[in-house]
Every structure is written in structure tokens, then in C-alpha cells.
């Protein structure tokens, strides 16, 4: 019963919010959608410019699998107030993650590991924060840690353009722009890391940057 309610809440969020906003108000152009994982466990790593990024990512997966697609989000931001936390956990389906290290022995990625073990698809924004709109920042290494724990799980880089123009940090209403989404080739720890976290993150970062460079975009200052 509880599980069915959870699935229903996730569906409502996607059908009543993510779809109307991303597919009608904005409009998405997705390249290589077939490179997205059909089933978990998998990690998808988009760049991060806007609150709309999570909505946009959720529209890329079929509805019947949406309950198994889990955005990873900062606990210090989304669990700040009770109402936002309740909404984020139940309707958006986030897996909260502590951005600041707490107790020395606590594993900040425990929630993510459990989800991967359950066969879920994680959406992780490796930049860690939205930052300046439409500018990519250095990636945090959490994805590499997870990949090393699950060495055969595919890590799929995604580059999105337009959402930061539409609703940058601080903006309250989205302004419609078409969104370009580029899905890259899957990487795995076994195939791409050579046992080195830094090397893995460098390759992931490079792959995301190259995806974004494939297309000329109008300037945005």
C-alpha cells in the first residue's frame, strides 16, 4: 500500500509538473535518447544549471519506470524545511546526500549505494550545485566512488543546454526556451577508470564537455 502510494506520488509529480513544464512550456530536443539506461542499476550524470534540470531528466524516462529513477539531491537544501523535505522525498523521489562531511565514520553515499543495490537508476549532478547558469564547474568525485563500488554499473554522461537560461539560480518563474539534451556513451569503472578515481572523473568531465561542444549555441551573458 505504502509502495503503491509512493509510485502514485511520483507519477503525479511527473505527469502534472514535469511533463507540462518541460514538454509544453519549454520543449525538449533530445539527441541519442536510446543511450539512456533502460533499467537499473545505472548512474546518469547531467550538468546542473537550474531547478528545472531534475524535471527535465525525469521526462526522459518512461512513466512505468519512473518510480525507480531517483534524483540525488543535497540534504542541506531540500530537507531544510519539513514541507519541502516531505515533497522532495515523496513526490520528487530524491535520495538525500550530505554535502558537508558529518561524523568521520558515516558514509555520505550510503543511500546511493543502497539504491544501486536495489537496481535503481540514480540521477547525480556531479557539479554538486547549479552555480553560474550555463557554465560547467569542476566535478565532485562522488560518482567515481560509487562507480568503484559498482564497477560494472553504467555511468551515462548527459549535457543539457537551455534550462539555465530558462530558470537560473534565483529566478522564480521559468521563461520558455527550447532545451537541448545530449546523451553520451555509457562508461563503467572497469572499462574506463584504470583503478583511478581522478582519472575516471577527468574522463567523465571531458565526455560531458565534448557533448556540450557538439553544437553551436547562441551566446548568453
Amino acid at each position: 500500500m505504502r509502495n503503491a502510494l509512493h509510485v502514485l506520488a511520483r507519477w503525479l509529480f511527473v505527469v502534472l509538473l514535469a511533463w507540462p513544464v518541460c514538454l509544453v512550456v519549454l520543449g525538449m530536443n533530445v539527441r541519442h535518447r536510446n543511450r539512456l539506461p533502460r533499467d537499473g542499476p545505472a548512474i546518469v550524470t547531467p550538468n546542473h544549471n537550474s531547478h528545472l534540470d531534475t524535471l527535465a531528466m525525469l521526462t526522459l524516462f518512461p512513466l512505468r519506470r519512473i518510480a525507480r529513477v531517483r534524483p540525488v539531491a543535497a540534504a542541506d537544501y531540500f530537507l531544510k524545511t519539513g514541507l519541502l523535505g516531505w515533497f522532495s522525498l515523496n513526490f520528487v523521489g530524491i535520495i538525500p546526500i550530505a554535502r558537508k562531511r558529518g561524523a568521520a565514520d558515516a558514509d555520505p553515499l550510503a543511500g546511493c549505494s543502497e539504491a544501486l543495490a536495489r537496481g535503481e537508476i540514480l540521477i547525480i549532478f556531479p557539479e554538486g550545485t547549479r552555480g553560474e547558469p550555463e557554465r560547467m564547474q569542476e566535478l565532485k568525485s562522488g560518482v567515481a566512488v560509487l562507480a568503484s563500488r559498482f564497477p560494472d554499473v553504467p555511468v551515462v554522461p548527459v549535457f543539457m543546454h537551455g534550462l539555465g537560461k530558462s530558470m537560473p539560480k534565483g529566478a522564480l518563474v521559468p521563461v520558455p526556451f527550447f532545451v537541448d539534451v545530449y546523451v553520451g556513451q555509457a562508461m563503467t569503472w572497469n572499462a574506463d577508470a584504470g583503478g583511478d578515481r581522478r582519472g575516471f572523473m577527468a574522463r567523465l568531465s571531458e565526455n560531458m564537455r565534448l557533448l556540450g561542444e557538439k553544437h553551436e549555441r547562441p551566446e548568453f551573458e
Binding site: G27, P133, P168, A171, V175, F177, F178, P218, F220, E221
Partner: protein
């Protein structure tokens, strides 16, 4: 209400254009558009079925030839025709909402391809607000405000909002580009919606819907006629730097065919006399050409090549309505001046 009452009421109340030759008996679903428009749509479907069959036959006869472009174009027309039938088939309000949505997507496509400034987030939001306002004005038929709302009020409101942000670098470029998009994608196209708000009395042959059909059909047909004529007999390029496919021969032959159709359809769908129909054909023929090359010039300027993947799947709405940005206001004011 008894059925006899319903029948007489339908016969008395129906405007002349809806009666047609054989009135639909009461109790059956009444036609949603004037009979002339229903026939016109039927004609379009027949035409498209013929073309589709012709291509199928052509592929059998000449397996070596590449029909891909032709097939894609025909597919797009099927799509447009079905959508147009749905958009006009319910009621006037729904039709106007559909045209407003076309404006919205075209404007969004325009904004997505021009350079924008981060500081102008709110200004862009204000620009979008003009879309519902303009189409409400069209819907209620408030001509006086409809015709000045964007060219006067929003023309002043946007720079006002922009200057209050206080970011002067690139100010003129930003405000100018925004105004151009609003004028073409919203103001120009909204004239299609105002055709639907015109009083039925001005056009005994089907009212505003028939005029809208006449405008859109001739504009689309003119595009195809110029394209085909250009391929068949085109030699001299008119504006090679802007649009390589436009030739003098294609233009003249295309406009000629458009005038022919304008004259043939005018007695069925419009109040236009013969010389007026010739003029309407000229207006739509040349207007469509100018709209087409103007949007092409903008895309060239911005470095967006035709068929670019900027909006794949969305099929480039701007490319579909480029001719209408000129023909819609031109044809509207032509008819409005002569018959309303």
C-alpha cells in the same frame, strides 16, 4: 424541444453560409464549419491523397530515384492538415487558442536561436505575456487595441522594463531583437486569429473561418508552387546570398499559379471580386516569398542553417510560418479595408 421545432429553429437560425445545398437534419451532429470550408478541407484531403498515391507509384516506376525529401514534405503536410482540421473543427475560442500556441512556439524558437542576456530574464517573461493579451484582444474583436497593443504599448513597455534593470551593454541589440520577434511571431500571426473575430456579415461565403482557410491554403500552396516551379524551370537566382533556392522563374510561375487558385477559390470562400482576387493572389504570392527569405536571412545572420538540428522533432515551426508572417497581416488588411 421537439424535433420538428429543432429542425425549423436550425433552418431559421443558421446563417446563410451554413445552410448549404442539403441542410443536415436536426438531431444529427451539425457541421462545425461553414459548408464551403468543409468542402475546401475535403478538397485538401483529396489532393494530399492523390499526391501520396502519385509518390507511391513514382517509387515503383523509378526505384533508383530519391523521393525522401518529397515524402518528408508530404508527411509534414499531412500533419499540418490534420492539425488544422482539429484546430478549426471545434469552436472559435479553441481555434484562437491553437493559433496563439503556434505564435508561442514560433516565438520560443526565435528566442532560443538569438543571443540573449542573462539580465533580461524578466524582460523576456514580459514579452511572453504579450501573447495571451494579444490573442484575447483578437478573440473579443477589440480592433482598436489589438492593432496598437504590441506596436505601441509593448514596444514601449519592453525597453522600459529593460532599462530599469540598468544593464546597458548590448541594450539596443537585445531590445531590437526582442521587438522583431514579437512583431513577426506574435503581432503578424495574430492577424489570422482576428480573421475569426470579423463579423459574419462581411463574408457571406463562410465568414472569417473561410477567409482564414483561404489565406493559409494559398500561402502554403504558394510555398510549394514556388519550390516546384523553381526546381523545374528555375535559372536566375534572385537573392543567392540569402536563399539559394529562390529563382525569378520559380517566383513568377509560383505567383501565377497562386493567382489562379486565388481567383478560382474566391467565389466559394471570400467576398472578393475578380480583380480583388487577382490582387489577393499577388499579395499572398509575393508576401509569402518575402516572408520566406526574411526568416532565411535572419537564420543566416545567426548562423542557423536550414535543416539544422536546433529544433529537430519540433520541425522548425518558424520555417513553417515564415511566409505567414508577411501574408497574414497583408491579406487581413486587404480584406478588412475592402469589405469590413
Amino acid at each position: 424541444m421537439s424535433s420538428a421545432n429543432g429542425l425549423s429553429a436550425a433552418l431559421v437560425a443558421a446563417p446563410a453560409a451554413r445552410q448549404g445545398i442539403v441542410p443536415v437534419p436536426a438531431g444529427l451532429p451539425q457541421p462545425v464549419f461553414p459548408e464551403a470550408v468543409a468542402w475546401a478541407f475535403t478538397g485538401c484531403y483529396a489532393l494530399l491523397i492523390l499526391v501520396t498515391l502519385a509518390i507511391a507509384v513514382g517509387r515503383r516506376l523509378r526505384p533508383g530515384r530519391d523521393f525522401t525529401e518529397l515524402r518528408l514534405r508530404v508527411k509534414a503536410f499531412w500533419f499540418i492538415l490534420v492539425l488544422a482540421t482539429l484546430a478549426l473543427g471545434f469552436n472559435r475560442t479553441f481555434s484562437i487558442v491553437c493559433i496563439a500556441f503556434v505564435s508561442f512556439v514560433a516565438f520560443k524558437e526565435y528566442l532560443s536561436m538569438i543571443p540573449t542576456r542573462r539580465a533580461d530574464h524578466r524582460v523576456l517573461f514580459w514579452a511572453y505575456l504579450a501573447i495571451p493579451a494579444q490573442y484575447v484582444l483578437a478573440g473579443v474583436g477589440w480592433y482598436g487595441l489589438f492593432i496598437i497593443f504590441i506596436p505601441v504599448f509593448w514596444f514601449l513597455a519592453l525597453p522600459m522594463r529593460m532599462v530599469l534593470i540598468g544593464h546597458t551593454q548590448g541594450f539596443l541589440r537585445a531590445v531590437g531583437m526582442l521587438q522583431f520577434g514579437l512583431m513577426t511571431c506574435v503581432f503578424s500571426l495574430s492577424h489570422m486569429a482576428f480573421l475569426l473575430a470579423l463579423p459574419d456579415a462581411g463574408n457571406p461565403n463562410g465568414g472569417g473561418v473561410a477567409l482564414l482557410f483561404y489565406l493559409v491554403f494559398l500561402t502554403q500552396f504558394n510555398d510549394v508552387a514556388q519550390y516546384v516551379a523553381g526546381k523545374l524551370v528555375g535559372r536566375r537566382r534572385i537573392v543567392p546570398q540569402v536563399h539559394a533556392g529562390k529563382t525569378a522563374e520559380g517566383l513568377v510561375a509560383g505567383v501565377g499559379v497562386t493567382i489562379g487558385f486565388a481567383v478560382a477559390l474566391a467565389p466559394w470562400l471570400t467576398p472578393l471580386t475578380l480583380p480583388e482576387a487577382v490582387a489577393a493572389g499577388l499579395l499572398i504570392g509575393f508576401g509569402g516569398f518575402l516572408g520566406d527569405i526574411t526568416i532565411a536571412a535572419i537564420k543566416r545572420d545567426l548562423g542557423v542553417t536550414e535543416g539544422d538540428a536546433l529544433t529537430p522533432g519540433h520541425g522548425g515551426i518558424l520555417g513553417r510560418v515564415d511566409s505567414l508572417t508577411f501574408t497574414a497581416p497583408a491579406f487581413f488588411h486587404f480584406v478588412y479595408f475592402l469589405h469590413y
